[in-house]
């Protein structure tokens, strides 16, 4: 724990992660496999949206209102990791994405809690998100042949987006290497219980994500923003 107070825009990537994952989870409304998951996924989406709003509020002196930050930036100005912008896919895909993200966000917020009031509050929420994703990963990995295969496919597909999580965010004093090791140990443990294989990761020459924090995103992200921002942008200056 070597955190010091975050510098000016250092929390923007955290806010963008939360907003974009919330947006993705919001797409599940009305489509979840059981009613309990309608409630759970919406709950996680709401928590993340609340985190994004609190983080954006802290940036308003520099970037303007929360709606200006969310609705009026272009794709290249967003600093979220590429993992959170990946399309929902099937339920296994959504769960594995959530596990990878929450197993990162929870210890990160725990480290930032002493210096970032939002992190102190949100760390409890993220622990719940992580727990929810963990339980489902184990259920799906262990459940049936089909659920196992789907979950393994999701893990294999999303693994390339995980290294990026540990790229240092400028202005956040965190032991990123230590965080990465904790995360990997955590995922190994959950995957072990789920009977899933931890992916090896892309080969040396293959493509791996690493530029979301610099504002380079994947193709699906443009559509996500188009949908999210369209109405707000259609009525410049209007209040809602």
């Amino acid at each position: 724990m070597t955190a010091t107070a975050p510098q000016s825009l250092a929390t923007l990537p955290l806010g963008d992660d939360a907003l974009i994952l919330s947006q993705r989870l919001g797409e599940w409304a009305g489509h979840a496999p059981v009613l309990e998951e309608e409630v759970a996924l919406a709950n996680i989406a709401l928590d993340l949206l609340g985190q994004a709003r609190a983080l954006y509020a802290g940036l308003s002196d520099v970037l303007g209102s929360e709606d200006e930050i969310a609705y009026l930036r272009e794709e290249r100005a967003f600093r979220n990791c590429q993992l959170v912008e990946q399309p929902n896919g099937d339920f296994a895909h959504t769960i594995v994405r959530q596990l990878f993200f929450s197993a990162y966000q929870q210890p990160l917020y725990a480290r930032l809690a002493p210096v970032l009031p939002l992190a102190a509050k949100a760390v409890r929420e993220t622990a719940y998100h992580r727990d929810h994703a963990e339980q489902w990963t184990v259920r799906l990995g262990d459940g049936t042949e089909e659920s196992h295969a789907r979950t393994q496919r999701a893990a294999d597909a999303l693994w390339r987006y995980t290294d990026e999580l540990f790229e240092p965010i400028e202005g956040l004093e965190v032991e990123w290497q230590e965080l990465a090791e904790e995360w990997k140990a955590d995922i190994r443990e959950v995957f072990g219980r789920a009977g899933l294989t931890v992916p090896q990761g892309p080969g040396k020459d293959a493509w791996a994500a690493g530029a979301g924090r610099q504002g380079l995103h994947t193709e699906p992200f443009g559509r996500l923003l188009a949908e999210m921002q369209h109405l707000h942008r259609s009525h410049p200056g209007a209040t809602w």
Partner: protein, 341 residues
């Protein structure tokens, strides 16, 4: 009502009960007569009927039908609003809408739970929804075309639902009445949010104001239809009133709703699309124009703008979730087996 409990029927009491003829009860027709008398007395005394109490089969099946239809309406009703979650024009509105749609899923859970106390499983009820044997509120067969529709649904549709549902908090069946207390609290919150959304639009730019008026124009008449057919054509009303499942007639509730909405529309600065709307001093109520019951019948028959889409979306979500539910069941079984060994 605790004085009379039904004779024991084994573990699946309710499931058998809502199909089986009452005369086959242990104890025979005489005991049945006494049970019926006790039930009638409890209803007359405004006591609550509880899951373990004896109840007539027709009372049970009426409740299952009504609670299931209500539960289905909650989960189908998520669709038209979820349609705008990803496009909500401010983060504050997005959070409110997400929370509202989540509440509807929660209402579905309580209501399926209430139906389960009568012996109908959620799975069985969902099957009936999916194959069209049970209905959901016809209002959700109309589309949400603009953001203002989210406000109009909150103000008018939730408003009509509350008018219908507040009396259900005193319904004779305990679990349903208690579920409704909680649901009505949340619904009235939603209704205020919808009204406030429309107010922001009505006081906004010209385009926003036009959007609000257009939404109210489209949702007004379907909202009035939510109270069901006129009293003289309502199939289930008389018996439900006698059982105190229902407390007021369709037309009474519709009039109450119109009387509440007219001044609210005025406060919004929006008009209601009814040239015949005028205050009737003698009645002490607002008179309103004739409802197009042919449209109502068409939508009920499946010919509304979104009937096919709503049901297909629901079935697809259910089918796509089958492997998830199977996985959860398989894991639970394996886990239990491992724990036992």
């Amino acid at each position: 009502m605790t004085s009379v409990t039904s004779p024991p029927r084994g573990g699946t009491a309710g499931a058998e009960a809502h199909g089986g003829p009452g005369a086959a009860e242990p104890g025979g027709p005489e005991a049945e007569g006494a049970l019926q008398e006790a039930f009638d007395a409890a209803v007359a005394a405004d006591e609550r009927i509880e899951p373990r109490d004896w109840m007539p089969d027709a009372y049970r099946s009426t409740l299952i039908r009504q609670i299931a239809q209500h539960a289905h309406s909650e989960i189908i009703g998520m669709q038209p609003e979820a349609n705008w979650i990803t496009r909500a024009p401010s983060l504050r509105r997005k959070a409110i809408l997400m929370a509202k749609v989540q509440d509807e899923a929660g209402h579905g859970l309580y209501l399926y739970g209430a139906a389960e106390t009568l012996g109908a499983s959620r799975e069985e009820l969902l099957d009936k929804l999916h194959d069209g044997r049970q209905k959901y509120s016809s209002i959700f067969n109309y589309p949400t075309l603009t953001w203002a529709d989210v406000g109009a649904i909150g103000w008018l549709v939730d408003g009509a639902a509350i008018t219908n549902q507040v009396p259900l908090c005193r319904c004779s069946y305990g679990p349903y009445a208690r579920a409704m207390v909680r649901i009505c609290k949340e619904e009235s919150f939603h209704q205020r949010q919808g009204y406030e959304l429309l107010l922001a639009l009505a006081r906004g730019t010209e385009a926003q104001c036009a959007m609000a008026q257009d939404a109210v124009d489209r949702w007004w008449w379907p909202s009035l239809m939510m109270f069901g057919p006129p009293d003289d054509e309502s199939a289930h009303s008389a018996q439900s009133m006698a059982w105190k499942i229902k407390r007021h007639s369709n037309d009474e509730l519709r009039q109450r709703f119109v009387d509440i909405c007219v001044p609210q529309a005025e406060a919004l600065g929006l008009t209601l699309p009814d040239p015949d709307l005028r205050w009737n001093e003698e009645r002490g109520h607002w008179d309103f124009g004739a409802i197009d019951w042919e449209e109502f019948r068409q939508v009920l028959k499946g010919n509304g703008p979104c009937n096919e889409q709503r049901l297909r979306r629901r079935r697809t979500a259910h089918e796509n979730g089958a492997w998830v539910r199977e996985a959860a069941a398989a894991h639970a079984a394996k886990h239990a087996a491992r724990s036992a060994s």
